[in-house]
Symmetry: D2
Subunit: 352 residues, 4 copies
Amino acid sequence: MLKVKIFGACGYGGVGMIELLVRHPEADIVSLIDIENTALPISSVYPHLTGFCDLEIISPEKDNPGDGEANALFFATPDGVGMKWASRYLENGMKIVDYSGDFRFSTQEEYASYAGKIGKPSLHHAPELLERSVYGLTELNREAISGASLIGNPGCFAVATILALAPIVKARAVDIEKLICDAKTGVSGAGKKPSSAFHYPSRYENMNPYKVGMHQHAIEIENQLSIQAGADCKIILNTQVVPITRGIMVCAYAQLDENWDLDRVFDLYKDFYRNEPFVRILPLNQAPSSKDVRGSNFCLLSVHVDPDTGTCLIMGQIDNLVKGQAGSALQNMNLMHGLDETSGLYHPPMIP
Amino acid sequence: MLKVKIFGACGYGGVGMIELLVRHPEADIVSLIDIENTALPISSVYPHLTGFCDLEIISPEKDNPGDGEANALFFATPDGVGMKWASRYLENGMKIVDYSGDFRFSTQEEYASYAGKIGKPSLHHAPELLERSVYGLTELNREAISGASLIGNPGCFAVATILALAPIVKARAVDIEKLICDAKTGVSGAGKKPSSAFHYPSRYENMNPYKVGMHQHAIEIENQLSIQAGADCKIILNTQVVPITRGIMVCAYAQLDENWDLDRVFDLYKDFYRNEPFVRILPLNQAPSSKDVRGSNFCLLSVHVDPDTGTCLIMGQIDNLVKGQAGSALQNMNLMHGLDETSGLYHPPMIP
Amino acid sequence: MLKVKIFGACGYGGVGMIELLVRHPEADIVSLIDIENTALPISSVYPHLTGFCDLEIISPEKDNPGDGEANALFFATPDGVGMKWASRYLENGMKIVDYSGDFRFSTQEEYASYAGKIGKPSLHHAPELLERSVYGLTELNREAISGASLIGNPGCFAVATILALAPIVKARAVDIEKLICDAKTGVSGAGKKPSSAFHYPSRYENMNPYKVGMHQHAIEIENQLSIQAGADCKIILNTQVVPITRGIMVCAYAQLDENWDLDRVFDLYKDFYRNEPFVRILPLNQAPSSKDVRGSNFCLLSVHVDPDTGTCLIMGQIDNLVKGQAGSALQNMNLMHGLDETSGLYHPPMIP
Amino acid sequence: MLKVKIFGACGYGGVGMIELLVRHPEADIVSLIDIENTALPISSVYPHLTGFCDLEIISPEKDNPGDGEANALFFATPDGVGMKWASRYLENGMKIVDYSGDFRFSTQEEYASYAGKIGKPSLHHAPELLERSVYGLTELNREAISGASLIGNPGCFAVATILALAPIVKARAVDIEKLICDAKTGVSGAGKKPSSAFHYPSRYENMNPYKVGMHQHAIEIENQLSIQAGADCKIILNTQVVPITRGIMVCAYAQLDENWDLDRVFDLYKDFYRNEPFVRILPLNQAPSSKDVRGSNFCLLSVHVDPDTGTCLIMGQIDNLVKGQAGSALQNMNLMHGLDETSGLYHPPMIP
């Protein structure tokens, strides 16, 4: 049985986890931690949780890592929080999944390069934890995750991009030094804090690239793909925002080697993901729609090869708040505690 | 003075032209032709036009090409209509811009390959008109357009993609055989006819690729870019729909030659479009937003080079119904009649 | 254990029921019936159901009411279908909930007046079933529903309007002959069939009243409120569409009697719904938001009294596809089979 | 010729005015004043204005009221700004339209009651200006506006509600003490400042009442309707937000006197507004859509009478940023300077 603390309960990532856990057959939420809204019941901040979760939000300082009440903790927090607070929970035997980039890297050097992209100090606050932390993309790292106590949950763009490219990169079927990922995200990826760019009148009927060629998720994508390939991968990640709340659609382009063709790529993908509960390869000549993953933990992929240019095109869809965040985190936590990894997660999207 | 007939008045393309013309200082609409809503005033079909244009819609058979009332005609019609009706208007001295693919190609062979993609008979109905017709992308073809009497107005994706890629392709700064264009369109591009894919509940919060690698606009894009390059260009055009009504955003990727860098590309674009009234190159490190072209005839472009992969990325935005359709058509018609090409077109987008 | 047949599986009402039932702990779907998409698995029509429900859709003629496989049937069908097919299922001992107006009335006369509003023949096809059918607004009719075998599930506007007005009407606290309900619905209420009015480019940024003063749900609203009041109620129902997919917001206005004030109205509502699992009265000075019910079976209500005009204002929110349709239907079916009425229904909305 | 200064250039109200003026045949913008973005060209804040208006924004202190450059000034500012700065411009002979509530009232007492609703000090900063200021609803006050030098432009809800109710209230055809206005606004009415309530993920698919029974526009509505009626009018104004950017839809309900019927009401409205360039009465049995006013200065009205409850229902649509704000302001300014009041304003909405 999961006894869960959520650190960062009031952001979209925290609320998404609460929504999953209140329907999870083997989990209970025991504590909600945040720096905002302390001493209020979560259901006064998010009225839709009334009756499902009415716990009072407590400040980080008020929570006792040694109270023995919980065996699982999620840091649904921005960069820099998990690294400050993780050790005291680990010391008390709890297993942790952190949503941010704090534990996605194994060395201080890698972290420093990431930190530079997001304007954070290059020194990690708890470098000793980096080597025990595991990168939490379940489909590629299942075994390590099962045995881990500290997971760096992948970035939302990274989930979609890595799942889209891992098979052809691992098979070395493409030019791994010239990968392209054109990635469109819904607005919830930017969190719940209001800003001009996401003010309704500025965002409706509006799409635009942002952080062009600078998105911090590119680093973990290159890292993980390089591990798969056994050689250095290079990618340009072109992130864009569209007027959708939930969803990431990636279109990944790579130059296909001459001894590969569409059928072989298709077989590769079907085989690579054949036992995965949450990854689905669409039939040829179909393309995935974001409505077919909305609210669920699924990742849909489809493959295409353009004969004229020799380009291999992989298209993928996830719900950025589920498979791209809370869903992946829960999938990992299930594994870490010996539960079926789909527990509390295996349900269809909601249409329309 | 333009005296205009609009053939296909009731579609988005026809209405878009009416909206432009009622504010045009040198144009009058004299006739609205359609196969639907005949004998009704246009303002009963589109109430927002009341008082601005209340002409009765007449059927094609009822319109008299020799009535001497008009000197300009727009075929705001789907493929196959202009080719049937154009000659009788041309014979009467009128100048024509056709929105469809009917006159975008100079030979029967090229047309046949296009026709195959859209499921039309490969034989052109008026092949003799193909050689006198001119491809209507004003920025690349201004002189020919000025002297022409029959224009094949470019497809909406083609406008954005060609404007984005023409400079680097013409400069042979990139690998012209492996061009990639990831293109997102608003829903109005599919016209006003309702369908499941564009039913509000299916389309809100939904984005998806469609016609993957099969979009018919790829042909004219390759044609025109090849003319610019003086050699065969190859492109994969990956068209996607996002929940927006107006707008096309293209992200074009190409492998940059080693003797080029970002500054040189930037200078190239600024120079290439330096006298263009409707094309604007954004400063470096900015990316265009669709809200900044909505309702206007502008095309915004920005350039970026990814040092790791050597990819040149060009991002472009147009309003698919203006610069992508009626606006370009009017820009051409202005030119054909010796008017300032910006007449009736030079106004800012509407925000928010 | 519910063994369920869904007649009309391919509409939003059918799919909504499938989505609920695949997570229902005490229900199995045994048969999907429709006149469209027969012989196809439902998951090829709705890919998001893949793995959750892959049953083949069969035609009405192919389904055997006497196969003994099911004890529950939902007619998720338009007006006129249930009345044709219900008897043969009832004869085989099945319990039925019909989504349409077919069984919302107890007499042929009432039905005829409803049928007139929707352009249907005034003669009911199975008038003998009218007297055994029960109006399925659970909160007002729980006991009768529990013992019934045939339920006319309420219309979506009716659910929200009746729940909003029942307490003050029953208490005779207002002028029951001059009730006003200003009701806004999301687009999914019109079903999945594409039409001009709900084509994305026509519907985004667009709101409008429709069927002004003519909506067919007004009849059942007046019927049910009159039963509560023990006297004839009269209401004007002004239905409007807004660019939302899911949701109904009602603002009901009534002239408050002089011996009533806000506190008394508030107490009345809290008391009236005090044991209801799905109806919630907000604290004073709050108003409900549709996001707080989206995807759930809840109805949120708030009350307000305007001292200047003496108007009592009741505001309500439901998800039209859940509490307004499939959710209410399942709530009723649970009751009819002696299950907890919240079974498979008690979960929070999804935010954002 | 209008020579215009815009005070508060960077809000939606300022930008809306700029968009109108750059196409106005008899107006030039000579100065843009704001407390934000000073020393920047407006086109760097709003890139879509590039080439149309590139004036530098100056701070209020930097602008010289006596520079003789302008004869018209718009305060496109929140409450409290115009009252501080107006006199020095008036003293220099300029004519002023203020968007806020500062000059909508003729006495300090009325202002105080308004100020209380918006949390402002009850003392007006320039009470001597109140008696010379004129309420700027053109259709009802044309003559006074023509001769005025200081206009309090009406609130957006007030424009729609007063235009909807003025005829029946003036005719005393309804119970003027029990008026109801159910009013839905798009999000732009709240301005460009980001907030939680208007963050895209919170606002999409979300509608809710706000300021229930407390909206400050109710005061001016009652004032103006009372002037029309020659007796005290009372109204409940129930304001709601829907996920639209531009648009206000009002549904006004009033108890119709027995000697009135639908035809008489319809004739009354047609007659009342028969010479108005921007107000249109729809044919019976039609209802207005917000798309038919979007981007324009029109107000569409339709009337309906419910025979059962005796309710008269008036439905109205405006674009809150045009007829509800900048458009009305310009209409007034045109009048004040002896121009045709439609100058720069008479153009159709944009569809789709």
